[in-house]
Structure formats: structure tokens, C-alpha cells
Subunit: 68 residues, 6 copies
């Protein structure tokens, strides 16, 4: 399935924390920067996410702000 | 001012389009991946954004999805 | 690619309007209810969306409110 | 009060989980598809949500992505 | 209908701009601060918004960041 | 760093709850209205937020709905 979300940043799962209903996933990008995602625990388990996995951080463009 | 948004990805403005109320900014990251942002035209003009500017793509972690 | 977004509602494109940087897509669900999406024009064109297409409305669960 | 959010999908609360600060509500639509919402526990309790309740899943159109 | 969104800030429409698919509404709060909203033009017209209207700025709590 | 997010509402931290991965911050505005924010616990701790702090509630304009 192709998706409208313009942003798909490829990286590696650096850390994964699950607690209660939520999960916090930190993804390291090739340039060393990292991006943190908050998803549901159900979603993290459905993707059977693990440290070291190659994943994509997916972000709808209307959710991205710019700082300068 | 420090901000709660966990994600601040440093990059360079690759393209900037303004049309009506909105502006579309594409930021190239050091690893060659790029991220597109939709902000208001007012915001783009307040930041006097230009191609080649060093900027940060700022994203609240609850807005980041994961694909695998 | 599997995605963390929990919500994928299957429906049919009822209307598609493109104007400036944005596109407005209305998707009719099997039960007659419809859901409106605002995406970028680039995204609508990349998906070559057309009226009558079978599509999925994808929504991160943290973006869904409840009314009662 | 009338609201700007274009999307109000009527359905029935299928499941409700509360844990820590958050609550996860799954709403079944008439066509059998379901939609998951993450709200605060405070909000779930203020609405005194219960399984079987008729509710609306409310989503701002800028938060809806399209997959094809 | 009661809503899960925790934030309903009462104020007055200070300005309203419609262009293409979108509308930009600026709401002045009693303390003089103002809040800008981007909604669809359809939504603005459905609410028949006008300068001077008493309205509420409604924001899901997961969308609010903190700066210090 | 200047940010594209148009909305920065100045107020005082009225309450702060941390539980699991998340934190709930309630900010009181000068006019007595309050705004609730859900951020990560990491973010709340990085800002060393405390009751009584002067802070800003920061909201991207595409996340603000209007009720009338």
C-alpha cells in the first residue's frame, strides 16, 4: 500500500520502552541524528519491534514544524 | 526557550513553495534523506526562510509513526 | 511495509479537490459515513488519486478524539 | 457547540482500557471496521465511557492520511 | 455532545482569512494572547464564522507542547 | 531558535503528573482558562518542569480546531 505521508525516514531502532498503553521508540538515522516516536504498545507489539531493526519513521507533513 | 518536542532534525532548506495560506518546506538531512513540512505562509515569512538556510525540522514524538 | 498507525478505514474516494499546495479527499465508508482528509497536492498526485478509487483512511490513534 | 472537525464517525465502544495517564478506546463502526483512539484517562472518565456506549470518533481532517 | 479534547479556550474571532481549501482563524483570548487555527474552508463556512464571533479554540492535549 | 508554530500561550504550571512514559501538564493562562498538555516523561524531566513555573503552551496552528 502506498501512503500519502510524505516523510519516511529510514533508520535503526536504538531503544524501545513499553509501559502501560504506550511505547517509546527511538530511531537512529544514518547521519547520527535520532527521532523519538510515541505509539501504542499494541502497535509496537504488532510490528514485533526490536532493537536493531531497520524501520521507517513516518510523519505527515502537516505535523512537521520548522525552527531557525 | 527549551521545548518539550523531542525531535529536532538539523538540515538545509532544499525547496520552499508558498501558495495561499500555506507553505511547503523541504529540508534535506545530512544523510541525503529529506523531510517535508507544511506550515502557514505567515510562519515561513516570519522565519524569512530561504533555500540553503540551516534549519531544524521539529516534530512532537506523538506525531511520529513507525513502519517496518 | 507494516505501519504502527492502528486505524485503516477502507472506503471509496467520493470527491477530490486540489487547490494550491493542498488536496481535500473525501472517502465514503461502507456504512455510508464519510471521512475527509487534507493531504498535500504532491501526495494526492503521487497516489494518482481518482474518484471511485478504493483507498484507506489512515489515522494515528493519538489523533482520534471521542464525543458522547 | 458546533465544531470545525469535519470527521465524526458514529459507532459503539467495543473496548476501553485505562492505564496511567492514558486511555485506549476502540470504537466499532456500523460496517464492522473499528477505530482506536488514545485520549487521556481524565477525558475517558469525564465522558464516563463504557463498553456499549454510542459515541463519535472525531478527527481533524489534517490528521487523516490516505493509503492506496 | 461532550468531547474528549481537554482544551477549549474561549475567545473572540479577531481575523479570518479564506484561501483555496483552507481558512486561517485568529482567536483573541481574554488575556490579550491570541491563538491561530488552520481549518478547512468548508469548516469555516459550515460554522459561518465571522470577525467578532465568540468561539472556542479546541485542542487535543496530545498536540500541546511545552516551552520553558 | 525561532519556531514556525504560531501559538505560544504564556502561563503557569498548575499541575504536573508523571506516569509511565507520559506526563500531563496543566498550564493556567492569565485569564484563568487552563490548557492541558500530554508530553513524554523524558521531555518533562529535560525541562525540569515544576508547579509554578512560567511556561509556554506551544501548538501548531494545524492542530487547533474551532467550536462555535
Amino acid at each position: 500500500m502506498e501512503m500519502s505521508a510524505r516523510n519516511r525516514l529510514k533508520g535503526t531502532v536504538k531503544s524501545l520502552k513499553e509501559d502501560g498503553l504506550m511505547a517509546q521508540v527511538t530511531v537512529e538515522l544514518p547521519d547520527g541524528q535520532s527521532i523519538t516516536s510515541i505509539i501504542t504498545r499494541d502497535a509496537a507489539q504488532a510490528l514485533s519491534l526490536q532493537q536493531g531493526d531497520t524501520v521507517y519513521a513516518i510523519i505527515k507533513s502537516t505535523e512537521v514544524m520548522i525552527g531557525k
